[in-house]
């Protein structure tokens, strides 16, 4: 019984693949339409993945920079650094003395000569405080504590733009979800329509099958397999398109990363995501074929 089922399904699968190759141009066009519809959300997903990786590596930028008042002595500043470093919501505190700051500023900014014109060092002692947690809620008490220190002149938190980026990524992620649903629906409709045409083309065959006692399942199955094969082939083409796009982008991205002294490389779909794409394509194909079969097979009756 099981063997018989397996054999029937295998022969249906083989038949469906054969049918695709019998009209190679038409099939290829349909598969390409499906591939593009699937490559778009998959490509956006890759973009979001890469942006997530980037924004994670920028998480370090969420440090507090605490500028101390000018009248705070170096010793007092060092003591304060130690004191803050003992808080459990603080991971690390770096003390930058005003002279270190001046040296760094001199070499980096190119304003060296202008600084020489000043009588005294205009820079305060600075503490760079790295919080333990990354979430806004976690660092809120720390922000307040740092602000309330009598030695504090100004607290700067460089997270706002990271938060904005995160927000944008979240939004983009949502957009990807919507696009995925819409284009998934489009794939279902494209395949449904293709199967509908196929059913119309083969109405004589369907009629004969019904006349000799073919059950609904028996008659429907080849069409379901055709839908699955279309969806799977479209997904495979989509994965191929993404791979090509990635290869084309890899060297310009590497060149750009080099400008930022980064070793950042683009990553494509993971194995798991590729499997989801292929399985999703097949499932959408099945759904489209099922809809078409449910609507149109019943209408064909021997007369």
């Amino acid at each position: 019984m099981l063997k018989r089922y397996l054999r029937l399904h295998l022969s249906n699968l083989g038949g469906a693949i054969g049918r695709l190759f019998r009209q190679p141009v038409g099939s290829l066009l349909t598969v390409l339409v499906i591939a593009i519809a699937l490559a778009l959300p998959a490509g956006l997903k890759v973009v979001v993945n890469n942006a997530d990786v980037l924004s994670d590596s920028w998480e370090g930028a969420a440090d507090f920079t605490v500028y101390l008042k000018m009248d705070v002595s170096e010793q007092a500043a060092r003591d304060l650094a130690k004191q803050i470093g003992e808080r459990n919501d603080v991971a690390d505190v770096t003390f930058i003395s005003r002279s270190e700051a001046l040296d760094e500023f001199r070499t980096r900014s190119g304003f060296g000569e202008a600084l020489d014109a000043l009588d005294e060092n205009p820079l305060p002692h600075t503490l760079v405080v790295r919080p333990r947690g990354g979430a806004i809620a976690e660092i809120e008490p720390l922000t307040q504590a740092l602000n309330e220190l009598p030695e504090t002149e100004l607290v700067q938190l460089d997270t706002e733009w990271v938060a904005r980026l995160r927000g944008m990524l979240l939004l983009l992620g949502r957009v990807v979800d919507i696009v995925t649903v819409l284009l998934g629906l489009a794939v279902v409709l494209v395949i449904g329509n293709t199967i509908r045409l196929e059913i119309n083309n083969r109405s004589t065959e369907i009629e004969v099958m019904k006349l000799v006692g073919g059950t609904d399942g028996f008659i429907r199955r080849p069409f379901l397999y055709l839908g699955i094969v279309y969806g799977f082939a479209g997904a495979a083409f989509a994965a191929g398109l993404l791979l090509v796009a990635l290869v084309l982008l890899r060297s310009p991205v590497a060149a750009l990363a080099e400008l930022y002294a980064s070793h950042y490389t683009l990553s494509g779909l993971s194995l798991e995501e590729t499997l989801v794409l292929l399985g999703g394509g097949a499932a959408l194909g099945w759904a489209g074929a099922w809809l078409a079969a449910a609507r149109h097979l019943r209408a064909i009756e021997p007369s």
Binding site: R4, R7, L8, T204, E205, E207, V208, M209, K210, L211, V212, G213, G214, T215, D216, F218, E301, P302, S303
Partner: protein, 226 residues
């Protein structure tokens, strides 16, 4: 085997195709259904194959009231009936073998058994050497024999045929009818609709004559009465 009790069939367009048809065909009987075109021959056969349902009256096939067969049970019901068509209704995108095998594949037989039965059926219609051919390459008479092979391959209890010799010359027609007789010899119940009276006269079988949707003559009742 087949039993009609006061069967009426009115199509949605108002045409009354059958009005009060009653007859019964015993197991192993072979009968011709004759009458002018439009008399209701095709409708009568369609009621047997459950392609249509009666408006009134009862159709029993194999002691089964067709009114009690729900739509989803129709396939299983049809698997036990062989149907032969005037236009053969072969599938031209597959080989002779695959055409004859179709009802057996549907029936879920093992490939070895399917091969055996297909070849047996093709042998009976004398076309064993054509199993790999495409139906389109065969003559009309040969195509009809393929259609018959398909109808009998699953060894149905009943075979119905609608104008099986409609497109054939007298010689080929007789050949086809002799073929049906051979199946009848091994116990198959046959009901053959035809308007070829000359051919029917050649053969000594029961005749049901339909005129305007009613049985106008039944040779069996006539001989019983005599």
């Amino acid at each position: 085997m087949i039993r009609f009790e006061n069967v009426h069939k009115r199509y949605p367009n108002g045409r009354e195709a059958l009005s009060g048809v009653s007859f019964s065909l015993e197991r192993g009987e072979m009968a011709f259904l004759t009458g002018p075109s439009g008399a209701g021959k095709s409708t009568l056969l369609k009621l047997i194959a459950l392609i249509e349902r009666p408006t009134r009256g009862t159709v029993l096939v194999n002691n089964l009231n067709t009114a009690r067969v729900p739509r989803r049970r129709i396939p299983r019901f049809r698997q036990r009936i062989g149907v032969v068509f005037q236009d053969h209704k072969l599938l031209y995108d597959r080989s002779v073998f695959d055409n004859v095998a179709l009802p057996l594949v549907i029936g879920g037989l093992k490939p070895r058994e399917i091969g055996r039965r297909v070849r047996a059926a093709l042998d009976q219609v004398g076309l064993l050497d054509r199993e790999t051919h495409a139906p389109i390459t065969l003559s009309t008479g040969e195509q009809q024999r393929i259609g018959i092979a398909r109808a009998v391959a699953s060894r149905p209890d009943v075979v119905i045929a609608d104008e099986p010799t409609g497109n054939l010359d007298p010689e080929l027609s007789l050949e086809i009818m002799r073929l049906f007789e051979r199946f009848n010899d091994v116990g198959v119940t046959l009901l053959i609709a035809t308007h070829d009276l000359e051919l029917v006269d050649h053969l000594n079988h029961r005749r049901l004559k339909l005129v305007a949707g009613q049985i106008a003559a039944d040779s069996k009742q006539a001989s019983d009465a005599a």
